[in-house]
Symmetry: C2
Subunit: 347 residues, 2 copies
């Protein structure tokens, strides 16, 4: 029901997804009248929910008031019952991100060893592959331990979706302009090096903002504030450039003719950087798989989010995150407790 366009986008995407994946089954969650037709599709089941979380609803409304929202009921489908069985293996929503994260966290809880769930997305890179970046805004003011957890979860995600068992991890830091790096980043680098030394992580070292698009590492880890700014800044630049291209090619009859000549090239370029192909951010660290589609996604983009969730579920992302995080934490040297540090400072 969510997203800027609601079922007019999500339903055609679901139909295309079912056609492309003969073994897949869908549970559609929302208002009965909207889903009546879809209820007749093969391998498709409808679970009704009477309410809808609006894109501008405060988190509190989604969490406390709209208890029969499609968002909440959908998330509940991936929650395991007492026997460890869930109705669905992954949940996809184009709805309000803050609400989706809060409800997912409340309904599913975090995995053992994870303090905070993170949001991971992929961005295209020069190598014609993609770079997985997390966190994208779920967490501000992260500690070094959180960044380690993000690195492990990101590794599990890339292993599950891209089939790369030992993906490289870069820690986002600042370059030569830095008088000095932040303390948290330095501590995080130490933790990541320790995890790499015990064979639990393929840690490349520090990377800078441009390395995201260079594809220097498979994964770039950062706190949610920084990740969100990097993502939004990139979107802003891409949008500006796209407007400039349109303006320049429509300036006169001559430039329009040039555009016509260059059309196949421009189309190839557009396809190559089409952000819709990368739609579907993973909410990682929960006891259930939840994927977030961009709110403005069209049917093609929403279908990619479905594909991503499907691949993650098929390839056991949930167990991978669970196993990787516990293995890594077990191998880490014991961290000093906060109480110890205070005692040391006072002493």
């Amino acid at each position: 029901m969510g997203g800027d366009h609601g079922p007019s986008v999500t339903l055609p995407a679901c139909r295309a997804f079912l056609a492309a994946h003969p073994a897949a089954e869908l549970i559609l969650v929302g208002r009965a009248e909207v889903l009546a037709e879809a209820a007749l599709w093969p391998r498709c089941r409808v679970v009704t929910a009477s309410e809808v979380v609006e894109m501008d609803d405060p988190i509190e409304v989604a969490l406390r008031r709209k208890k029969d929202s499609s968002l909440r009921v959908a998330v509940t489908q991936v929650k395991a019952d007492a026997n460890g069985v869930s109705q669905a293996q992954a949940c996809v929503s184009a709805g309000n991100t803050g609400a989706l994260m809060a409800v997912s966290r409340y309904v599913l809880k975090t995995l053992e060893g994870i303090d905070r769930p993170a949001i991971a997305t992929v961005m295209p890179n020069e190598r014609d592959g993609f770079t997985t970046v997390l966190d994208l805004g779920a967490n501000v003011d992260c500690t070094a331990e959180h960044l380690l957890q993000f690195a492990v979860m990101g590794s599990a995600l890339v292993a599950a979706i891209a089939g790369k068992e030992d993906p490289s991890v870069g820690l986002l830091n600042i370059g030569e302009e830095a008088i000095k790096g932040s303390e948290t980043i330095k501590q995080a680098a130490e933790l990541l090096r320790a995890a790499a030394a015990s064979g639990h992580l393929n840690f490349h070292g520090n990377v800078e903002g441009n390395d995201i698009f260079k594809g220097t590492t498979d994964i770039v880890v950062c706190d949610g504030f920084v990740g969100n700014v990097a993502l939004k800044t990139s979107e802003g630049l891409a949008s500006m450039l796209s407007k400039f291209v349109k303006q320049e090619f429509t300036r006169s009859i001559f430039t329009k003719l040039a555009a016509l000549m260059a059309l196949p090239v421009l189309k190839a370029l557009q396809a190559r950087v089409d952000h819709r192909r990368y739609n579907g951010a993973a909410l990682l660290g929960l006891r259930g798989l939840v994927f977030k589609s961009h709110g403005s996604a069209d049917a093609f983009a929403f279908e990619q989010a479905l594909n991503r969730a499907y691949d993650a579920a098929r390839n056991g992302l949930l167990d991978r995150v669970h196993d990787r995080i516990l293995d890594t934490l077990a191998a880490m040297p014991a961290a000093p407790k906060p109480a110890d540090s205070i005692a040391a400072d006072v002493a």
Copy 2:
């Protein structure tokens, strides 16, 4: 002497700058043998310095060992003597950023009311203007007070260089993906609102990464870590897109023909987003004007940095920053001292 290309770039830029500005005078600082020819130019004087700070020299080397470096001697030219007189009104360097900031801070000291100098640069925006962003990496772990100082210094910079006396300021924050904003940002927003209420700042409110390129505000304020990541990420995306454009247009004889047809449009596009036009970051908050050219600048780009420094000096940037910061701080409600907060917490 600095930058990736040294005098082979800076000397032609200086010559062009002198030709374009009949009232300007230059002091060139560096090795005598390199500057012998330039010493004969009109309105040009040479001050020799026997050492050069290399691009990869640690800050300590620039600060403690190479005391006769061209970088240090150049910065010293803008330092006021006991009578308030300096040899130069602005200093421009393409050298090592960390070294330039450290040496400038050591030689010039910060202005009254400024805790930390900041680095400000401009980025192009959709409105065909530019957005001034600071800090770009001089400061990580900023407090709310630092962000306020950046806002005031940025306002002085835009007033001096763009002639806009009341430029709008946005505080870089994260969007709907945020479960909550960071505490520092919230406090900074309060300080900025207070400064706006007393008429000392044109505070627009929070902005997101994409607003930099939308041109929502004249100035975007953020801590150095975030600013550096935003800048480097943008550079990375621009570089990737530029490579993709080249690759697609050179793929076959047909696409090469299309490129030929589209050449005037591609050239217009390139000129419109040419980052060389925006070269010349300001080191703000020091008792002297220092501008940093990109290390990889060519002669055209370095000349823009000279132009920027010249405009800043002509339009009294130093006094503007000094006056604005003292006026703003005088009008601010007294902040609780850290000791008070601790007492309150304990109570």
